[in-house]
Symmetry: D3
Subunit: 319 residues, 6 copies
């Protein structure tokens, strides 16, 4: 039985050197990045048997992504598209520094994954997994993907696979109203919800004390666990009616992209390893803090490193 | 009055280091490349006042292309698309070596230029030019562009601007039949035709002695000049009923991409400078041979360098 | 009519990687840098039609500089020196970190520009400009240049072109006394003066409250605008008898070189765009803060980025 | 059932840039390289389910190797050594050019793999494989490894797993006599022998017509297949009493290291896919020729690329 | 007469780019690093005639180290080992950032230096030196080296060469007890002792007020000078019964490795130049602070730079 | 006693990556290069005690050159110029490829060395050397240097130091007539003359059979040895009335710069080691052929590598 299966889009991430700008650069660093594969990599590195499902163009670029994920121990279930009609999604990342923000330019329209139908994917992998994870980015990418996302969540639910979902609202893909409506339609299939405080407010119209928000969501949608992540990157979880708070571990940030995914990957990996919710929140926060020190979307960490952060900073829970 | 105006798509060209492969690379070299801007750069560097027309997304990536072309002295007339609906075309180039071919992966679907309509472009620039150049790639990119290409050629013709057209058949964009039909529909607006022997055979169904082919084409479509480029990269031109042959200048090839465009740019620049057809063929061939020694699509050469090749190799005309 | 014409020396800037030292480095990053072209680039990028005048050796190195400036949209009016008697000025920049200072080694003696006479330069461009800008570096480079600088300022004045001048005292080029004498001889042709507090004290012997200093200078030399920049990089301007103060926008400094030029470029661009003095001071400060985050001498920014800094930090005026 | 299992040492390969020398370089390129993992990578990339067995230090360096192999789809069965007593083998590779030879400096003494005992390795993987492959390097590395190699070959033989063995004589590890004695002691467990003509002569004392040599070896040791590779890199095989000859495919050599392993990997992959010996020889030769164009030990190729070489060069069999 | 002779191991230091991790990196920066050569380089750069003694494999890797040390003006006295039995020690350095620590992986077992016997080394150089320096790393590397270290210290003592010794406890090489015993056995030959507060506590079992600890050590072992370096990197020295305290100079840390060696090198160089203990402590602290801003183990500084730090921060003595 | 002392200018050599062009490059490789230090490095690496004399600016750039030469074991005798009036000579090298030639741009005017007077240099080093070497570049750089060159040659002659001189005519520095006149004025102090066939013809007006030319020169100027190097890079020597011919060793050329200096360095090193003229010619040719495979001006070779070329190609003497 697989520990965790994730489904979503992964792009080639193209970045100029620090201090340089996209509009004059002569060189781009290449890495693979996408919320759901980021989660799979974090989980795999932390000891899980992790599988990432997606659809990719049958090209060196598609294989480039699989190659990088496999190097971290993630197995892949790919619908290879050799139609020549679709492309590899990319995103350009320009590192900033105050007052110049980090700039992300998505170039993902027409990506192969936007045409992925349930039957093209190894649905059995979802059924055999302990956890199935996807994020709110996936249904935003196309109506086909919205249906596929719903279908896979249902498949998981029917198979008693725990489902985890991170809102991951992306304003460049849809409006908060569109997102909120879709999120709510999926919630009946979701066991573990993760959402940023600001996404919850924008898309679900709920604000106030994060613990109250988490409790309300858990109650209304019958989530096993509801986690609200905060703007300072701490988090609050409600699980079985209990509230758990987790502060952030201080980090020198080299690259902030993928921090949230590292949190989710660390949280789920620890849960799968038998951790209780508060220990998993700490494990997720530690994974996220380590991620910040590493170039790229991926949490290239070891279980020992994460454990060391948790143990040395047992009192980092600041709230 | 402008010497030469060109119109077409320019992409970001992304290449891994030599010996590396796209499917594992961690680094991409970035340059601008496109047939018509390659011609404009060659012409500008060789002394022409050259302008490139196109449509680009209003983004750092679009500005990246303009920036590189401007650095070579090309002026640009851009329809900036801030709709967010279109993208920057890119192509991935993996350098090969026998028996592994150089691999080009186009990622140009949905590019801003495919939506370019005549009215968005500075049509006046075409009217004020001595020469207007585009290639057979442009009408292949979209039906909108096919119409725009025809319209701009007509505009040029009406203004007594000399029109030059390189077949540049791309099998990944359309069939030979589609291409041939379109080419023929444009020929009535074309003064100077350039075509590779194999493209002429595939799309126009004409083969045999290159001089005969050139003469037939010139006669049938009333071209002022018809140039057939050969598989060994020599060329044969028919101009005013005369046949001129030009051999290749030997070159150590560092990067073969853009060689044909360098030939056209060198040929037209010399014609604009008052050269007769045989001297312009030599000038084009010399520009092309220098291009081969330089990384990237662009002929980063000086008039002195081109002249030196022509003069030292006066007997290079081997046919 | 051109918005702004600048005149001065631009060098090749050669830098080892961060953390490395010139005396062992195996690699140098190459960029173009010079006060007056830095100002031209900032202005051009912020929407002005900007022209940079200079004299350069007719060599790949001279063309290297023009190429980079053109890539940012600056037009150039160059006296090309093919005598072989002069050279391309360079400067070596070693990035430091406390307690090791950033080290600049000028290698500019014998540069082509030091021989530039007024008649070699497109004096008409100065007459047709809204603003003519040069800095106190230019007259320090040679007696020829000192005369040329005076001559071009006079030309501008005669044509009702607004003249702007930044003291930019360089102790490696001349003494404060020499500089002060020359500055004062030029002030009768200057409309907008920019000077660092410490340069004003060292060369002009004036110190005390910056607003008082600015007012005294404006009164004595009849400057339209007098701007004193402070050691903390804020600024005080006196214009039409009014005093305006501008604080700095906080920035993570990646590369501090060129910050002052970015301030001037931003200030002048905004003035040319119709901004009043306080808004232009803010615009200049914002351009400077963005510059700090970018590698190289040049403010590779967009008008939108500068506006965002100004708007979000409306209360950054800390004095 | 696994297609192919290989066993042996893989090192970190450290190379200075081309044209540079180890004794002054400031930069090393890092890749994984080792005969048996090279074979596994080639086979995996050509469609096999391939597993590499070895022992590695439990460190980032050990994981670096696994990471790279996994990225090509190879699964690994590793005995992780956390004793801190062993190290990661490395080798330094300095690319040459006539008359300066390519220089390899092994730094493999004390490598974890030299302590690998059969019980530490997943012996079941060997039993479940179609093919088990190792080379003559492995038993040369330590007496422990010599025993382990023999033991695994026996295990394979007992399980009816086809065994393949490449002599790969390394003069820096042992004498020809030592090697020859060990080889012969292993031959009773070997089904497919591959040996370079010069190794066979040096270690086994057999020379003369390669076909005769192959036949003699096959007869004496009852090999199913005996392949002699030639100094010009062609090969001769004897299989079921038949002789097959294979020429080389011409290649522009970027990096010759790993060519022999690519040949074996291609040969075995094609055999496993049902190819007969002559077609597998061609497939191996094509894989090797492609490898030559690629940086590193590994044949980063696709089945389509190999097939294209074979098909276009059907008459490359030059002997 | 030589100013200073040092003896010990120097390794190749191999580092991935910042933000990257050893287990996925494709590139390693190469530098030479080792406590005793770091001291020699600092001393040589600050004006001393410095010689480094060691044993190295007779290979490009051994020459790589000598080459780098010589480039800084250090002379070398090397026992070249052409036995092929030993290797070049290396260490892998992965730069960290909170909460991920900088990671050092030693790969020094079997290094040539571990077999260095006194007679292989130019013992006369030790006799002719003003100062002989080695550190507590050297005797920890092998029993042979432990004897050689003792022998060379005796040789120095007999020749009235001042001996300096830095504890430099390395927990990966031996236990505190083993280290403490060895240290104490060497102390009778040591004139100047340097030890980190934490090493003194761990290995020598002495803690408390650093000045008291220094005084006790000086008294018990009759050290001419005893220096205790503190966790905040300040230091306390006892010399001729007087206590001297030195604070740290603030530094932006680019690379902390080698800071302690820079301190020792600066201290000894200033002593050799006639400085008294407090001025030499300041000089050492300044050298160390500059080192922090520079990539690599080595203090690539000039006497002028060190003097500038000391002079500008005369009141940096914060304790 | 020193084996060889050389005197001349060494520059920083700045090169863009292969395939790139100076006028657009963003990166320059830095190395030290100069005829006389090239000879010193070759000789030092081949076992000589070699000293290079020159004058350099007292700056990181000057120290950069000394650092690189020292790394190869060359000792230096430098007149450090801290006047701030002179500069570090540089040269820009753009690698070419047919038909685009390799391009060298000298930027050496005003270099410190042009002001070097005999009394500033360690004249004693010349007296204590077996061989003193300089080339015809040195007297061409300034009239001061012309006098210094003559003075040092005289000093050497008076001390019975063998003097060696390579014409090294540089047309960018002076006319053939000027050069010829100066050469002839120095010949009375020269023992070993090396001259390219074309330089001898251009500057000394002698042509015809190289052996005859060498003999004539040896006779007329009483050279101990006269060596004519040929356009195909072979050489002919006349020594004690005997003629010796040496062919070239075939080489894959990575970088041709410095080949002639490597020849001289190898020749002199072998002579100093007791080789006779024909063996030294072979040794020089082998050193030169190895140099061709190495990036930079310097022959980064070992005695073993040179010997291997000579031995394996004993019949390479093709004439």
């Amino acid at each position: 039985m697989t520990d965790i299966v994730t489904f979503g889009e992964t792009m080639l991430r193209l970045s100029p050197p620090r201090g340089d700008r996209l509009e004059r650069t002569g060189e781009l660093d290449v890495q693979a990045g996408g919320a759901e594969s980021n989660v799979a990599v974090a989980a795999a590195r932390l000891g899980c048997d992790a599988v990432w499902l997606s659809k990719l163009p049958d090209s060196p670029l598609g294989r480039r992504v699989v190659s990088e994920l496999r190097s971290h121990g993630v197995r892949t279930g790919i619908a290879w598209d050799d139609s020549g009609e679709t492309r590899m999604g990319t995103y350009y990342l320009e590192h900033g520094g105050d007052p110049r923000g980090t700039n992300v330019i998505y170039d993902r329209s027409g990506a192969a994954v936007t045409t992925a139908k349930p039957d093209e994917l190894p649905r059995g992998a979802v059924r055999n997994a302990e956890v199935f994870y996807t994020s709110g980015i996936t249904p935003a990418l196309s109506s086909t993907l919205a249906e596929t996302t719903a279908s896979l969540l249902e498949t998981a639910q029917d198979a008693d696979t725990t489902t985890a979902f991170d809102l991951n609202y992306r304003s460049k893909l849809w409006t908060p109203e569109e997102a909120g409506e879709k999120y709510e339609s999926l919630f009946s299939h979701v066991d573990v919800l993760v959402g940023a405080e600001r996404d919850i407010e924008a898309c679900l119209g709920r604000s106030g004390d994060p613990a109250d928000v988490a409790r309300e969501l858990a109650d209304e949608y019958d989530f096993e666990t509801a986690i609200v992540t905060l703007s300072d990157e701490g988090s609050v979880a409600v699980h079985d009616g209990e509230v758990y708070e987790q502060g952030v571990y201080a980090a020198e940030t080299f690259d902030a992209i993928g921090t949230g995914d590292a949190f989710v990957g660390g949280f789920l990996a620890n849960r799968l390893d038998g951790g209780d919710v508060p220990s998993s929140l700490a494990y997720g926060a530690a994974t996220a803090s380590l991620k910040r020190t590493i170039d790229g979307d991926l949490a290239v960490v070891t279980p020992e490193e994460v454990a060391a952060v948790v143990e040395e900073d047992a009192d980092a829970i600041s709230r």
